[in-house]
Every structure is written in structure tokens, then in C-alpha cells.
């Protein structure tokens, strides 16, 4: 060891400092440590030097910490982000639920959108003027209501296509009826929602052609079986128009009550499907542009109280249907061979109805009794007709019945779809 010493034997400041800083190794460290073990003076020197070093380190490090802390402005707002994030998450969840509910109710409206589309099998009595109203050019698409420009702009965005209704399957294909393709399906959905929130005025209703209002009914799409078809159709149209008016009034009252409570909340209970489809028909016919797609049988769940022409619906006989009528969960379909099939679960399972008529059945449709149309309408609001679930039992109703026509233009009637009697 080369350490110099003070007072004869003590290690010098160099050695003690190096020991305190742990810079000594091996023999030098052992020698200094051995001296420190027996020398209280040098132990005190080392302890004081160490204490001074620690105090100097604290003084040297402390100031930068003070200068950094006040500049960290975002740290002061750290707690504010927590409630902000919670509110944002709640808002996003609310919007998601709102959109989901809107899409969930969309299919009911979709039925009304697609049914009124004009058919190539429309009766020849339809005038060219009505044809023009029914099939407007793409450029003549109706403008959005001026009172809701933002809503219309939002609705023009592409949206997921809702599950199509089975009635849409009954509609003529795109090749049969060229439709303007300017409007997207979502647009129609939004318009229907708006129409529900703000029912069409009476003047607009008057301008709507009766065929458009009745467009979803089977007579508008059924095959003209004979010359007496027009007379029967005219009578049926009168009945249906009365029914539509009644249903629309009922819908308007229900919506007005709902709007008064929830504004334009689309999650409110839907009006009876019949009213929806009828009320939506005129405008939809001028806007229907969505190309029909192959629809699954489960789509029948959205259909109620409609009848129409035969569309490619596969029946248990292996043939496709030529005419369909429905009420609630019940469906009646006539295939190309003239066989009648009944489904009580919206088309999931089919049961063949025993032939109780002569000739070959060519058409089936739902009919409303003329004398009971206005009288039974209020009653059906809460009755079997007003509630699709209540129709599951197909309870006899004096106002509603099915009519079946054969190839000889003979008619049979039935209230339950199973028992048919000549008219």
C-alpha cells in the first residue's frame, strides 16, 4: 500500500476517500478496512465524508425535479379524463343501441317498401297515368322532406341491408319490373321512419293513387283469371281503401301518442303491420329501387295480412307458388299444379289442404267483408287482426276470410284456410 498517512499511522484522505467511494479493491481495501475496524477517528472521517456526499447529492438532484413538475400540465388534467372517457363511452353505447334498434325495426318497414313495387302482371285496367306514378324515372325520386335535411343526408349513407321480408320474395324480379336504382334501401327505411313519426297529411293521401295504397294486396298482383276479375277487384279495392284509412288513423293516433312521449324515438312500439304497409305504400312505390334478392323462408316472420302473386317459393310439392295470401302467421299458397298449402308458422312448415273445390286452383287471396270493414276495424286493433301473435290461432273473424279461385273463375271462401265452401 502506498497510501500516505497523517498523524503517523492513519490512511490519508486519498485512501479514505477511495474507500468511501468503493474505488479500492483487493489488498488496499482490506488494509484500509482493517484500520477502520480499530480506528474510531478514521471511521468518523469516513462516516462524515459519506454523509456530506449524500447531502450534496440531495442538493444537486432536488432542483431539476422542481423545475420539471410544474410544466407537466397534462398531469393536472389526468383525473379529468376519467369522467370524460366514461361519458364518451356512454354516448357511444347509446348511439350503438339506437342504431341497432333502428335496424331491428327496419324489416317491418321493408315489407311495405318492397310490396308496392309495380308488377308486370298488373291488371290492364291500370291507366298510363297511374303507371307513370307507379314507375317514375330515377331522376324523379322524391326530395327529402325539407324539415329534416340532416336526417335525409344521414340516411343516404350506405347501411347494412336489413333482413328481407318474405313478401319481397313475392315481388316481381328486377328483370320483370325495371326499377330506378337511384335510391338505396336505407333511404327508404329512413323515409318510412320519418313517415311514421310524421304521418302523411290527408292531402298527400288523396294524391296517392289507390293502387299504390293497395299495392301490397294480392289482387294487385294476382293473375287475371277471367273477365269478372275487374269487378271483384274494384270491390276489394274499396274495402281495402277503407281499411287502410282506418288503419292509418289508428297508426297516426298511436304515433302521435308515442311522439309526445319520446319524440321521434323509433324504438317505440310499432303500429299494426297492416297500417304500416298500407300507409307506406304510395311513397314507397315511387322510391323502391332496391333489387330484390333471393329471400329465405324465415323472412315470413315479418309478413302479416298480405296476399300476392306467386313468386319463387318452394312448396312441399316441389313446385313454386303462383299465389300467396297471408294473415298473421298463416300463409296460404297455391302451386303451379293447383294444390293449396297452408302454413301456420310463417312458411317454415307446410301442410297440404284437402281439395274441396273443382278444377285447378289458380289464386288465393285474403278478403275483407265489405259491410264489416269499417265496423270491425276498431275492433281488430286489439283483436286478432291487430295483433299478429293473436292471429296464431286463426280465430274466425267475420271481416276477414280467404278466397280461392279456380281456373274456371269459380270462388270458394274459407275463414281458417282448411274448410272451403263455394261462394
Amino acid at each position: 500500500m502506498t497510501a500516505t498517512s497523517q498523524h503517523g499511522f492513519h490512511p490519508d484522505a486519498e485512501s479514505l476517500s477511495a474507500f468511501s467511494e468503493r474505488a479500492l479493491e483487493g489488498r488496499e481495501r482490506r488494509e484500509v478496512l482493517a484500520h477502520l475496524a480499530v480506528c474510531s477517528r478514521c471511521r468518523k472521517v469516513v462516516a462524515l465524508a459519506r454523509e456530506a456526499a449524500d447531502a450534496g447529492d440531495v442538493n444537486a438532484v432536488a432542483p431539476p425535479r422542481k423545475t420539471i413538475a410544474p410544466n407537466a400540465w397534462w398531469k393536472q388534467w389526468r383525473l379529468v379524463w376519467v369522467p370524460t372517457a366514461i361519458v364518451a363511452a356512454f354516448a357511444v353505447a347509446s348511439i350503438s343501441i339506437y342504431i341497432e334498434q333502428t335496424d331491428r325495426h327496419g324489416p317491418n318497414i321493408k315489407i311495405a317498401e318492397q310490396n308496392p313495387a309495380p308488377s308486370a302482371t298488373r291488371p290492364p285496367a291500370t291507366s298510363p297515368t297511374e303507371q307513370a306514378k307507379v314507375e317514375p324515372p330515377a331522376a324523379a325520386a322524391p326530395a327529402p322532406p325539407p324539415a329534416h335535411p340532416a336526417k335525409h343526408a344521414h340516411s343516404s349513407a350506405p347501411e347494412p341491408r336489413p333482413a328481407p321480408a318474405p313478401v319481397a320474395a313475392q315481388m316481381p324480379s328486377e328483370s320483370e319490373v325495371p326499377e330506378p336504382a337511384a335510391s338505396a334501401p336505407g333511404v327508404m327505411d329512413r323515409h318510412e321512419v320519418m313517415r311514421e313519426a310524421h304521418p302523411m297529411s290527408h292531402a298527400e293521401e288523396q294524391q296517392s293513387p289507390p293502387q299504390e295504397a293497395m299495392g301490397i294486396h294480392g289482387s294487385a298482383y294476382s293473375q287475371p283469371a277471367s273477365g269478372a276479375w275487374e269487378a271483384k277487384q274494384k270491390q276489394a279495392e274499396e274495402h281495402r281503401q277503407a281499411e287502410v284509412e282506418t288503419s292509418r288513423m289508428r297508426s297516426f293516433k298511436a304515433k302521435a301518442a308515442t311522439t309526445g312521449e319520446h319524440g321521434t324515438d323509433q324504438s317505440a312500439p310499432q303500429p299494426p303491420p297492416q297500417a304500416v304497409t298500407a300507409g307506406a305504400a304510395p311513397q314507397l312505390e315511387t322510391q323502391a329501387a332496391a333489387p330484390p334478392e333471393p329471400l329465405p323462408m324465415l323472412g315470413f316472420k315479418h309478413m302479416s295480412n298480405v296476399s300476392g302473386p306467386a313468386t319463387p317459393i318452394q312448396l312441399p310439392s316441389g313446385l313454386t307458388s303462383v299465389s300467396i295470401a297471408s294473415r298473421g302467421h298463416f300463409l296460404l299458397a297455391v302451386d303451379k299444379a293447383g294444390a293449396l298449402f297452408l302454413s301456420e308458422d310463417r312458411g317454415v312448415t307446410w301442410e297440404r289442404v284437402t281439395t274441396q273445390w273443382t278444377g285447378r286452383a289458380v289464386e288465393v287471396h285474403r278478403q275483407v267483408a265489405a259491410n264489416d270493414a269499417m265496423q270491425t276495424a276498431p275492433a281488430t286493433q286489439n283483436g286478432p287482426m291487430g295483433n299478429p301473435s293473436a292471429n296464431a290461432g286463426l280465430a274466425p273473424s267475420p271481416a276477414v276470410f280467404f278466397e280461392l279461385s279456380n281456373d274456371k273463375n269459380q270462388t270458394w271462401v274459407s275463414t281458417d284456410g282448411r274448410t272451403w265452401t263455394p261462394k
Partner: protein, 320 residues
């Protein structure tokens, strides 16, 4: 204050005249590449040190410590690799600054004041525990460093004893602590006698004198057999009254580790004392009974014993 540098230490540094003039052995030389590398890392031009002066400082410091080698330079001069290994363990920048200040370089002094003046005062205040005493201590050391003290007509600068083993600031703190402890010990001896409260006479011992004598021998032997680090821990804790934290800072270990080592050392010393007593002719029962003797009956003054003890290394050094 008396000069702190002895003639022997000055001879070891290789600067006998105290002016910084080199007294290098003829065959010593510094590797040029190593000197260039150290010169660039030192940035000694800030305090006006020339390249030649810098190299001379390195040669002086290296030869004074023989570049860390055990053999004398006349027998086997250090190779460039050994020189590089030596200087990598030395604070070259601090060493150059200290030597430049010792040579009387004004720019070096300005730099020294700018860098170390305030830390020196803070360290002195921390050591003394009082600001006024601390400032006085710092000013006194500063005067010493500047070379106001003379010996045999030569200005003596304590910075010449700095060899760069530790940091220059650490050296300054340790030097301050030495000054403070020496001053405290000297002034304590000058306390007036009337303040001295004579202890009451000890009661007659209850343990037989022979057993007490054997116990004293066993204790001294047990303590002398312990490792230096254990003795340091025991002395610092039980004699100096240092805290576990203060002891831990010296060794760079946690205070809990210090506590465990203290307990282990005490247990081992107790066992060793029992063994020593049995070795001296006592039975185990007698030895345990002797261990239960009143400590006031034991003539062993551990503090006095340890303070008067000197380690072999420094005893040899003093003899040489």
C-alpha cells in the same frame, strides 16, 4: 493548522520540491497513443494546461504509484498496456486539475473555484452541522489548498497528495472531515476539568477474579480473530453509535443487511468466547456462568482497546 503532508508522502509523489517539477526516473515514458486518448478525454485546455504539462503530470502520477505494479520500475518498467490499465482506474481529469492548481495555474484555479467552491462549502456545513462552522472550515481548507502554508520555505499544497484514486470532490470531503475530526478531538481534550464528572467507585466484583481474568482474555482473543469488516461493523455500531443506515452507506449495502451481519457477528463472538473459556480450562457450565458476569466487572475496555489497536499494514508502513 499544521501541514498535512509529510516528507515521506512528498517523496512518494515524486515531487520533492513541492512546485510540481518532475522528478521522473530516466526510463519512464508514456505511450503516445494513450497520452493522446487521455488528453482528448480530459479537456484540460479549459484551464490552460498544455499537452506537455499534461503528459508530465501523468508521468509523475504513474511513476509515483509505479503504475499500480508491485515491482520497482527500475526492475521492470510498465508496458503501455499496464499504463493504460492504470490510468483507466484513475480520475485523470481531476488529477490534472489538482496538479495544475498545485503548479499555480491561474486558469486552473478559476476553474477549480467555479466548480468546487460551493460544493466545498455545502460539504463543510454538512460535516459540521452548522453553517458558520462549515464556512470557517471550508475557508480554512481553501487557504490550505491555495498554498498559503509553507514548510521549509516552500509552499505546500495538499492537492499534491491527490492521486486520482477517487473523485476530487470525495477527496475534498474526506479532507474536510479529517480537519473537522482532528479539530474536535483536539478541542475536546481541552475541556475544563470542572466539567468532568468523576464516576462513582465500582462495587466489588461478584465473580471470582480468576474467572474474570479468563473472560477478559477470551474476549480479546475472540475479537482479534474476527474479520476486519465484522470488527468495523461492531465498532461503528456499538462504539461510535452510528446508525445502520450510516454504516450501510459506507459499504453500499442495505441497512437490513448491516443488521443481519451485526447479529451474526455477535452470535459468533459469543460462541468463540465460550470456546476460548473452555480451552482455558473451564467447563461448559462454568463458561456459561462466566458469560453471565456483570459487564461492569470486566476490565476489558473495548473502546480503548480498539482505538489503541493498529492494523498490521499501517504498523508495517509506519515502521518502514
Amino acid at each position: 493548522m499544521a501541514p498535512t503532508e509529510s516528507a515521506a508522502s512528498a517523496a512518494e509523489t515524486g515531487i520533492p520540491n513541492g512546485t510540481g517539477a518532475p522528478d521522473c526516473v530516466p526510463n519512464c515514458s508514456l505511450d503516445r497513443a494513450l497520452a493522446a486518448e487521455l488528453w482528448q478525454g480530459c479537456d484540460a485546455t479549459r484551464w490552460g494546461l498544455t499537452r506537455d504539462e499534461f503528459e508530465q503530470i501523468l508521468i509523475d502520477a504513474g511513476t509515483a504509484q509505479n503504475f499500480g505494479l508491485a515491482e520497482a520500475p527500475e526492475v521492470k518498467p510498465a508496458t503501455p498496456k499496464q499504463q493504460a490499465a492504470f490510468f483507466r482506474g484513475v480520475r485523470v481529469a481531476d488529477l490534472a486539475l489538482a496538479r495544475a492548481c498545485a503548479r499555480g495555474n491561474e486558469r486552473a484555479w478559476e476553474h477549480f473555484i467555479a466548480v468546487y467552491r460551493q460544493p466545498l462549502i455545502r460539504a463543510a456545513i454538512a460535516i459540521t452541522g452548522r453553517e458558520t462552522l462549515g464556512r470557517d472550515l471550508a475557508d480554512q481548507l481553501y487557504a490550505e489548498l491555495y498554498g498559503l502554508n509553507e514548510r521549509d520555505g516552500q509552499r505546500r499544497c495538499p492537492l499534491l497528495s491527490y492521486r486520482g484514486r477517487g473523485s476530487l470532490m470525495g477527496w475534498l470531503r474526506t479532507t474536510l472531515a479529517q480537519r473537522h475530526v482532528d479539530h474536535y478531538r483536539r478541542t475536546r481534550r481541552e475541556e475544563p476539568i470542572e466539567d468532568f464528572d468523576a464516576p462513582a467507585p465500582d462495587p466489588p466484583p461478584q465473580t471470582p477474579a480468576r474467572e474474570l481474568s479468563l473472560l477478559e482474555q477470551a474476549i480479546e482473543q475472540a475479537l482479534s480473530d474476527r474479520e476486519a469488516e465484522e470488527r468495523y461493523l461492531l465498532a461503528a455500531y456499538y462504539l461510535d453509535g452510528q446508525t445502520l443506515l450510516e454504516i450501510g452507506r459506507v459499504f453500499g449495502i442495505h441497512e437490513a443487511t448491516v443488521s443481519r451481519r451485526l447479529h451474526r457477528a455477535a452470535d459468533q463472538i459469543r460462541k468463540q468466547i465460550l470456546k476460548n473459556l473452555q480451552r482455558n480450562g473451564m467447563s461448559r457450565q462454568q463458561a456459561e456462568e462466566a458469560m453471565g458476569a456483570d459487564a461492569r466487572d470486566i476490565e476489558v475496555n473495548l473502546k480503548k482497546l480498539l482505538q489503541n489497536s493498529q492494523s498490521e499494514a499501517f504498523q508495517e508502513q509506519a515502521a518502514s
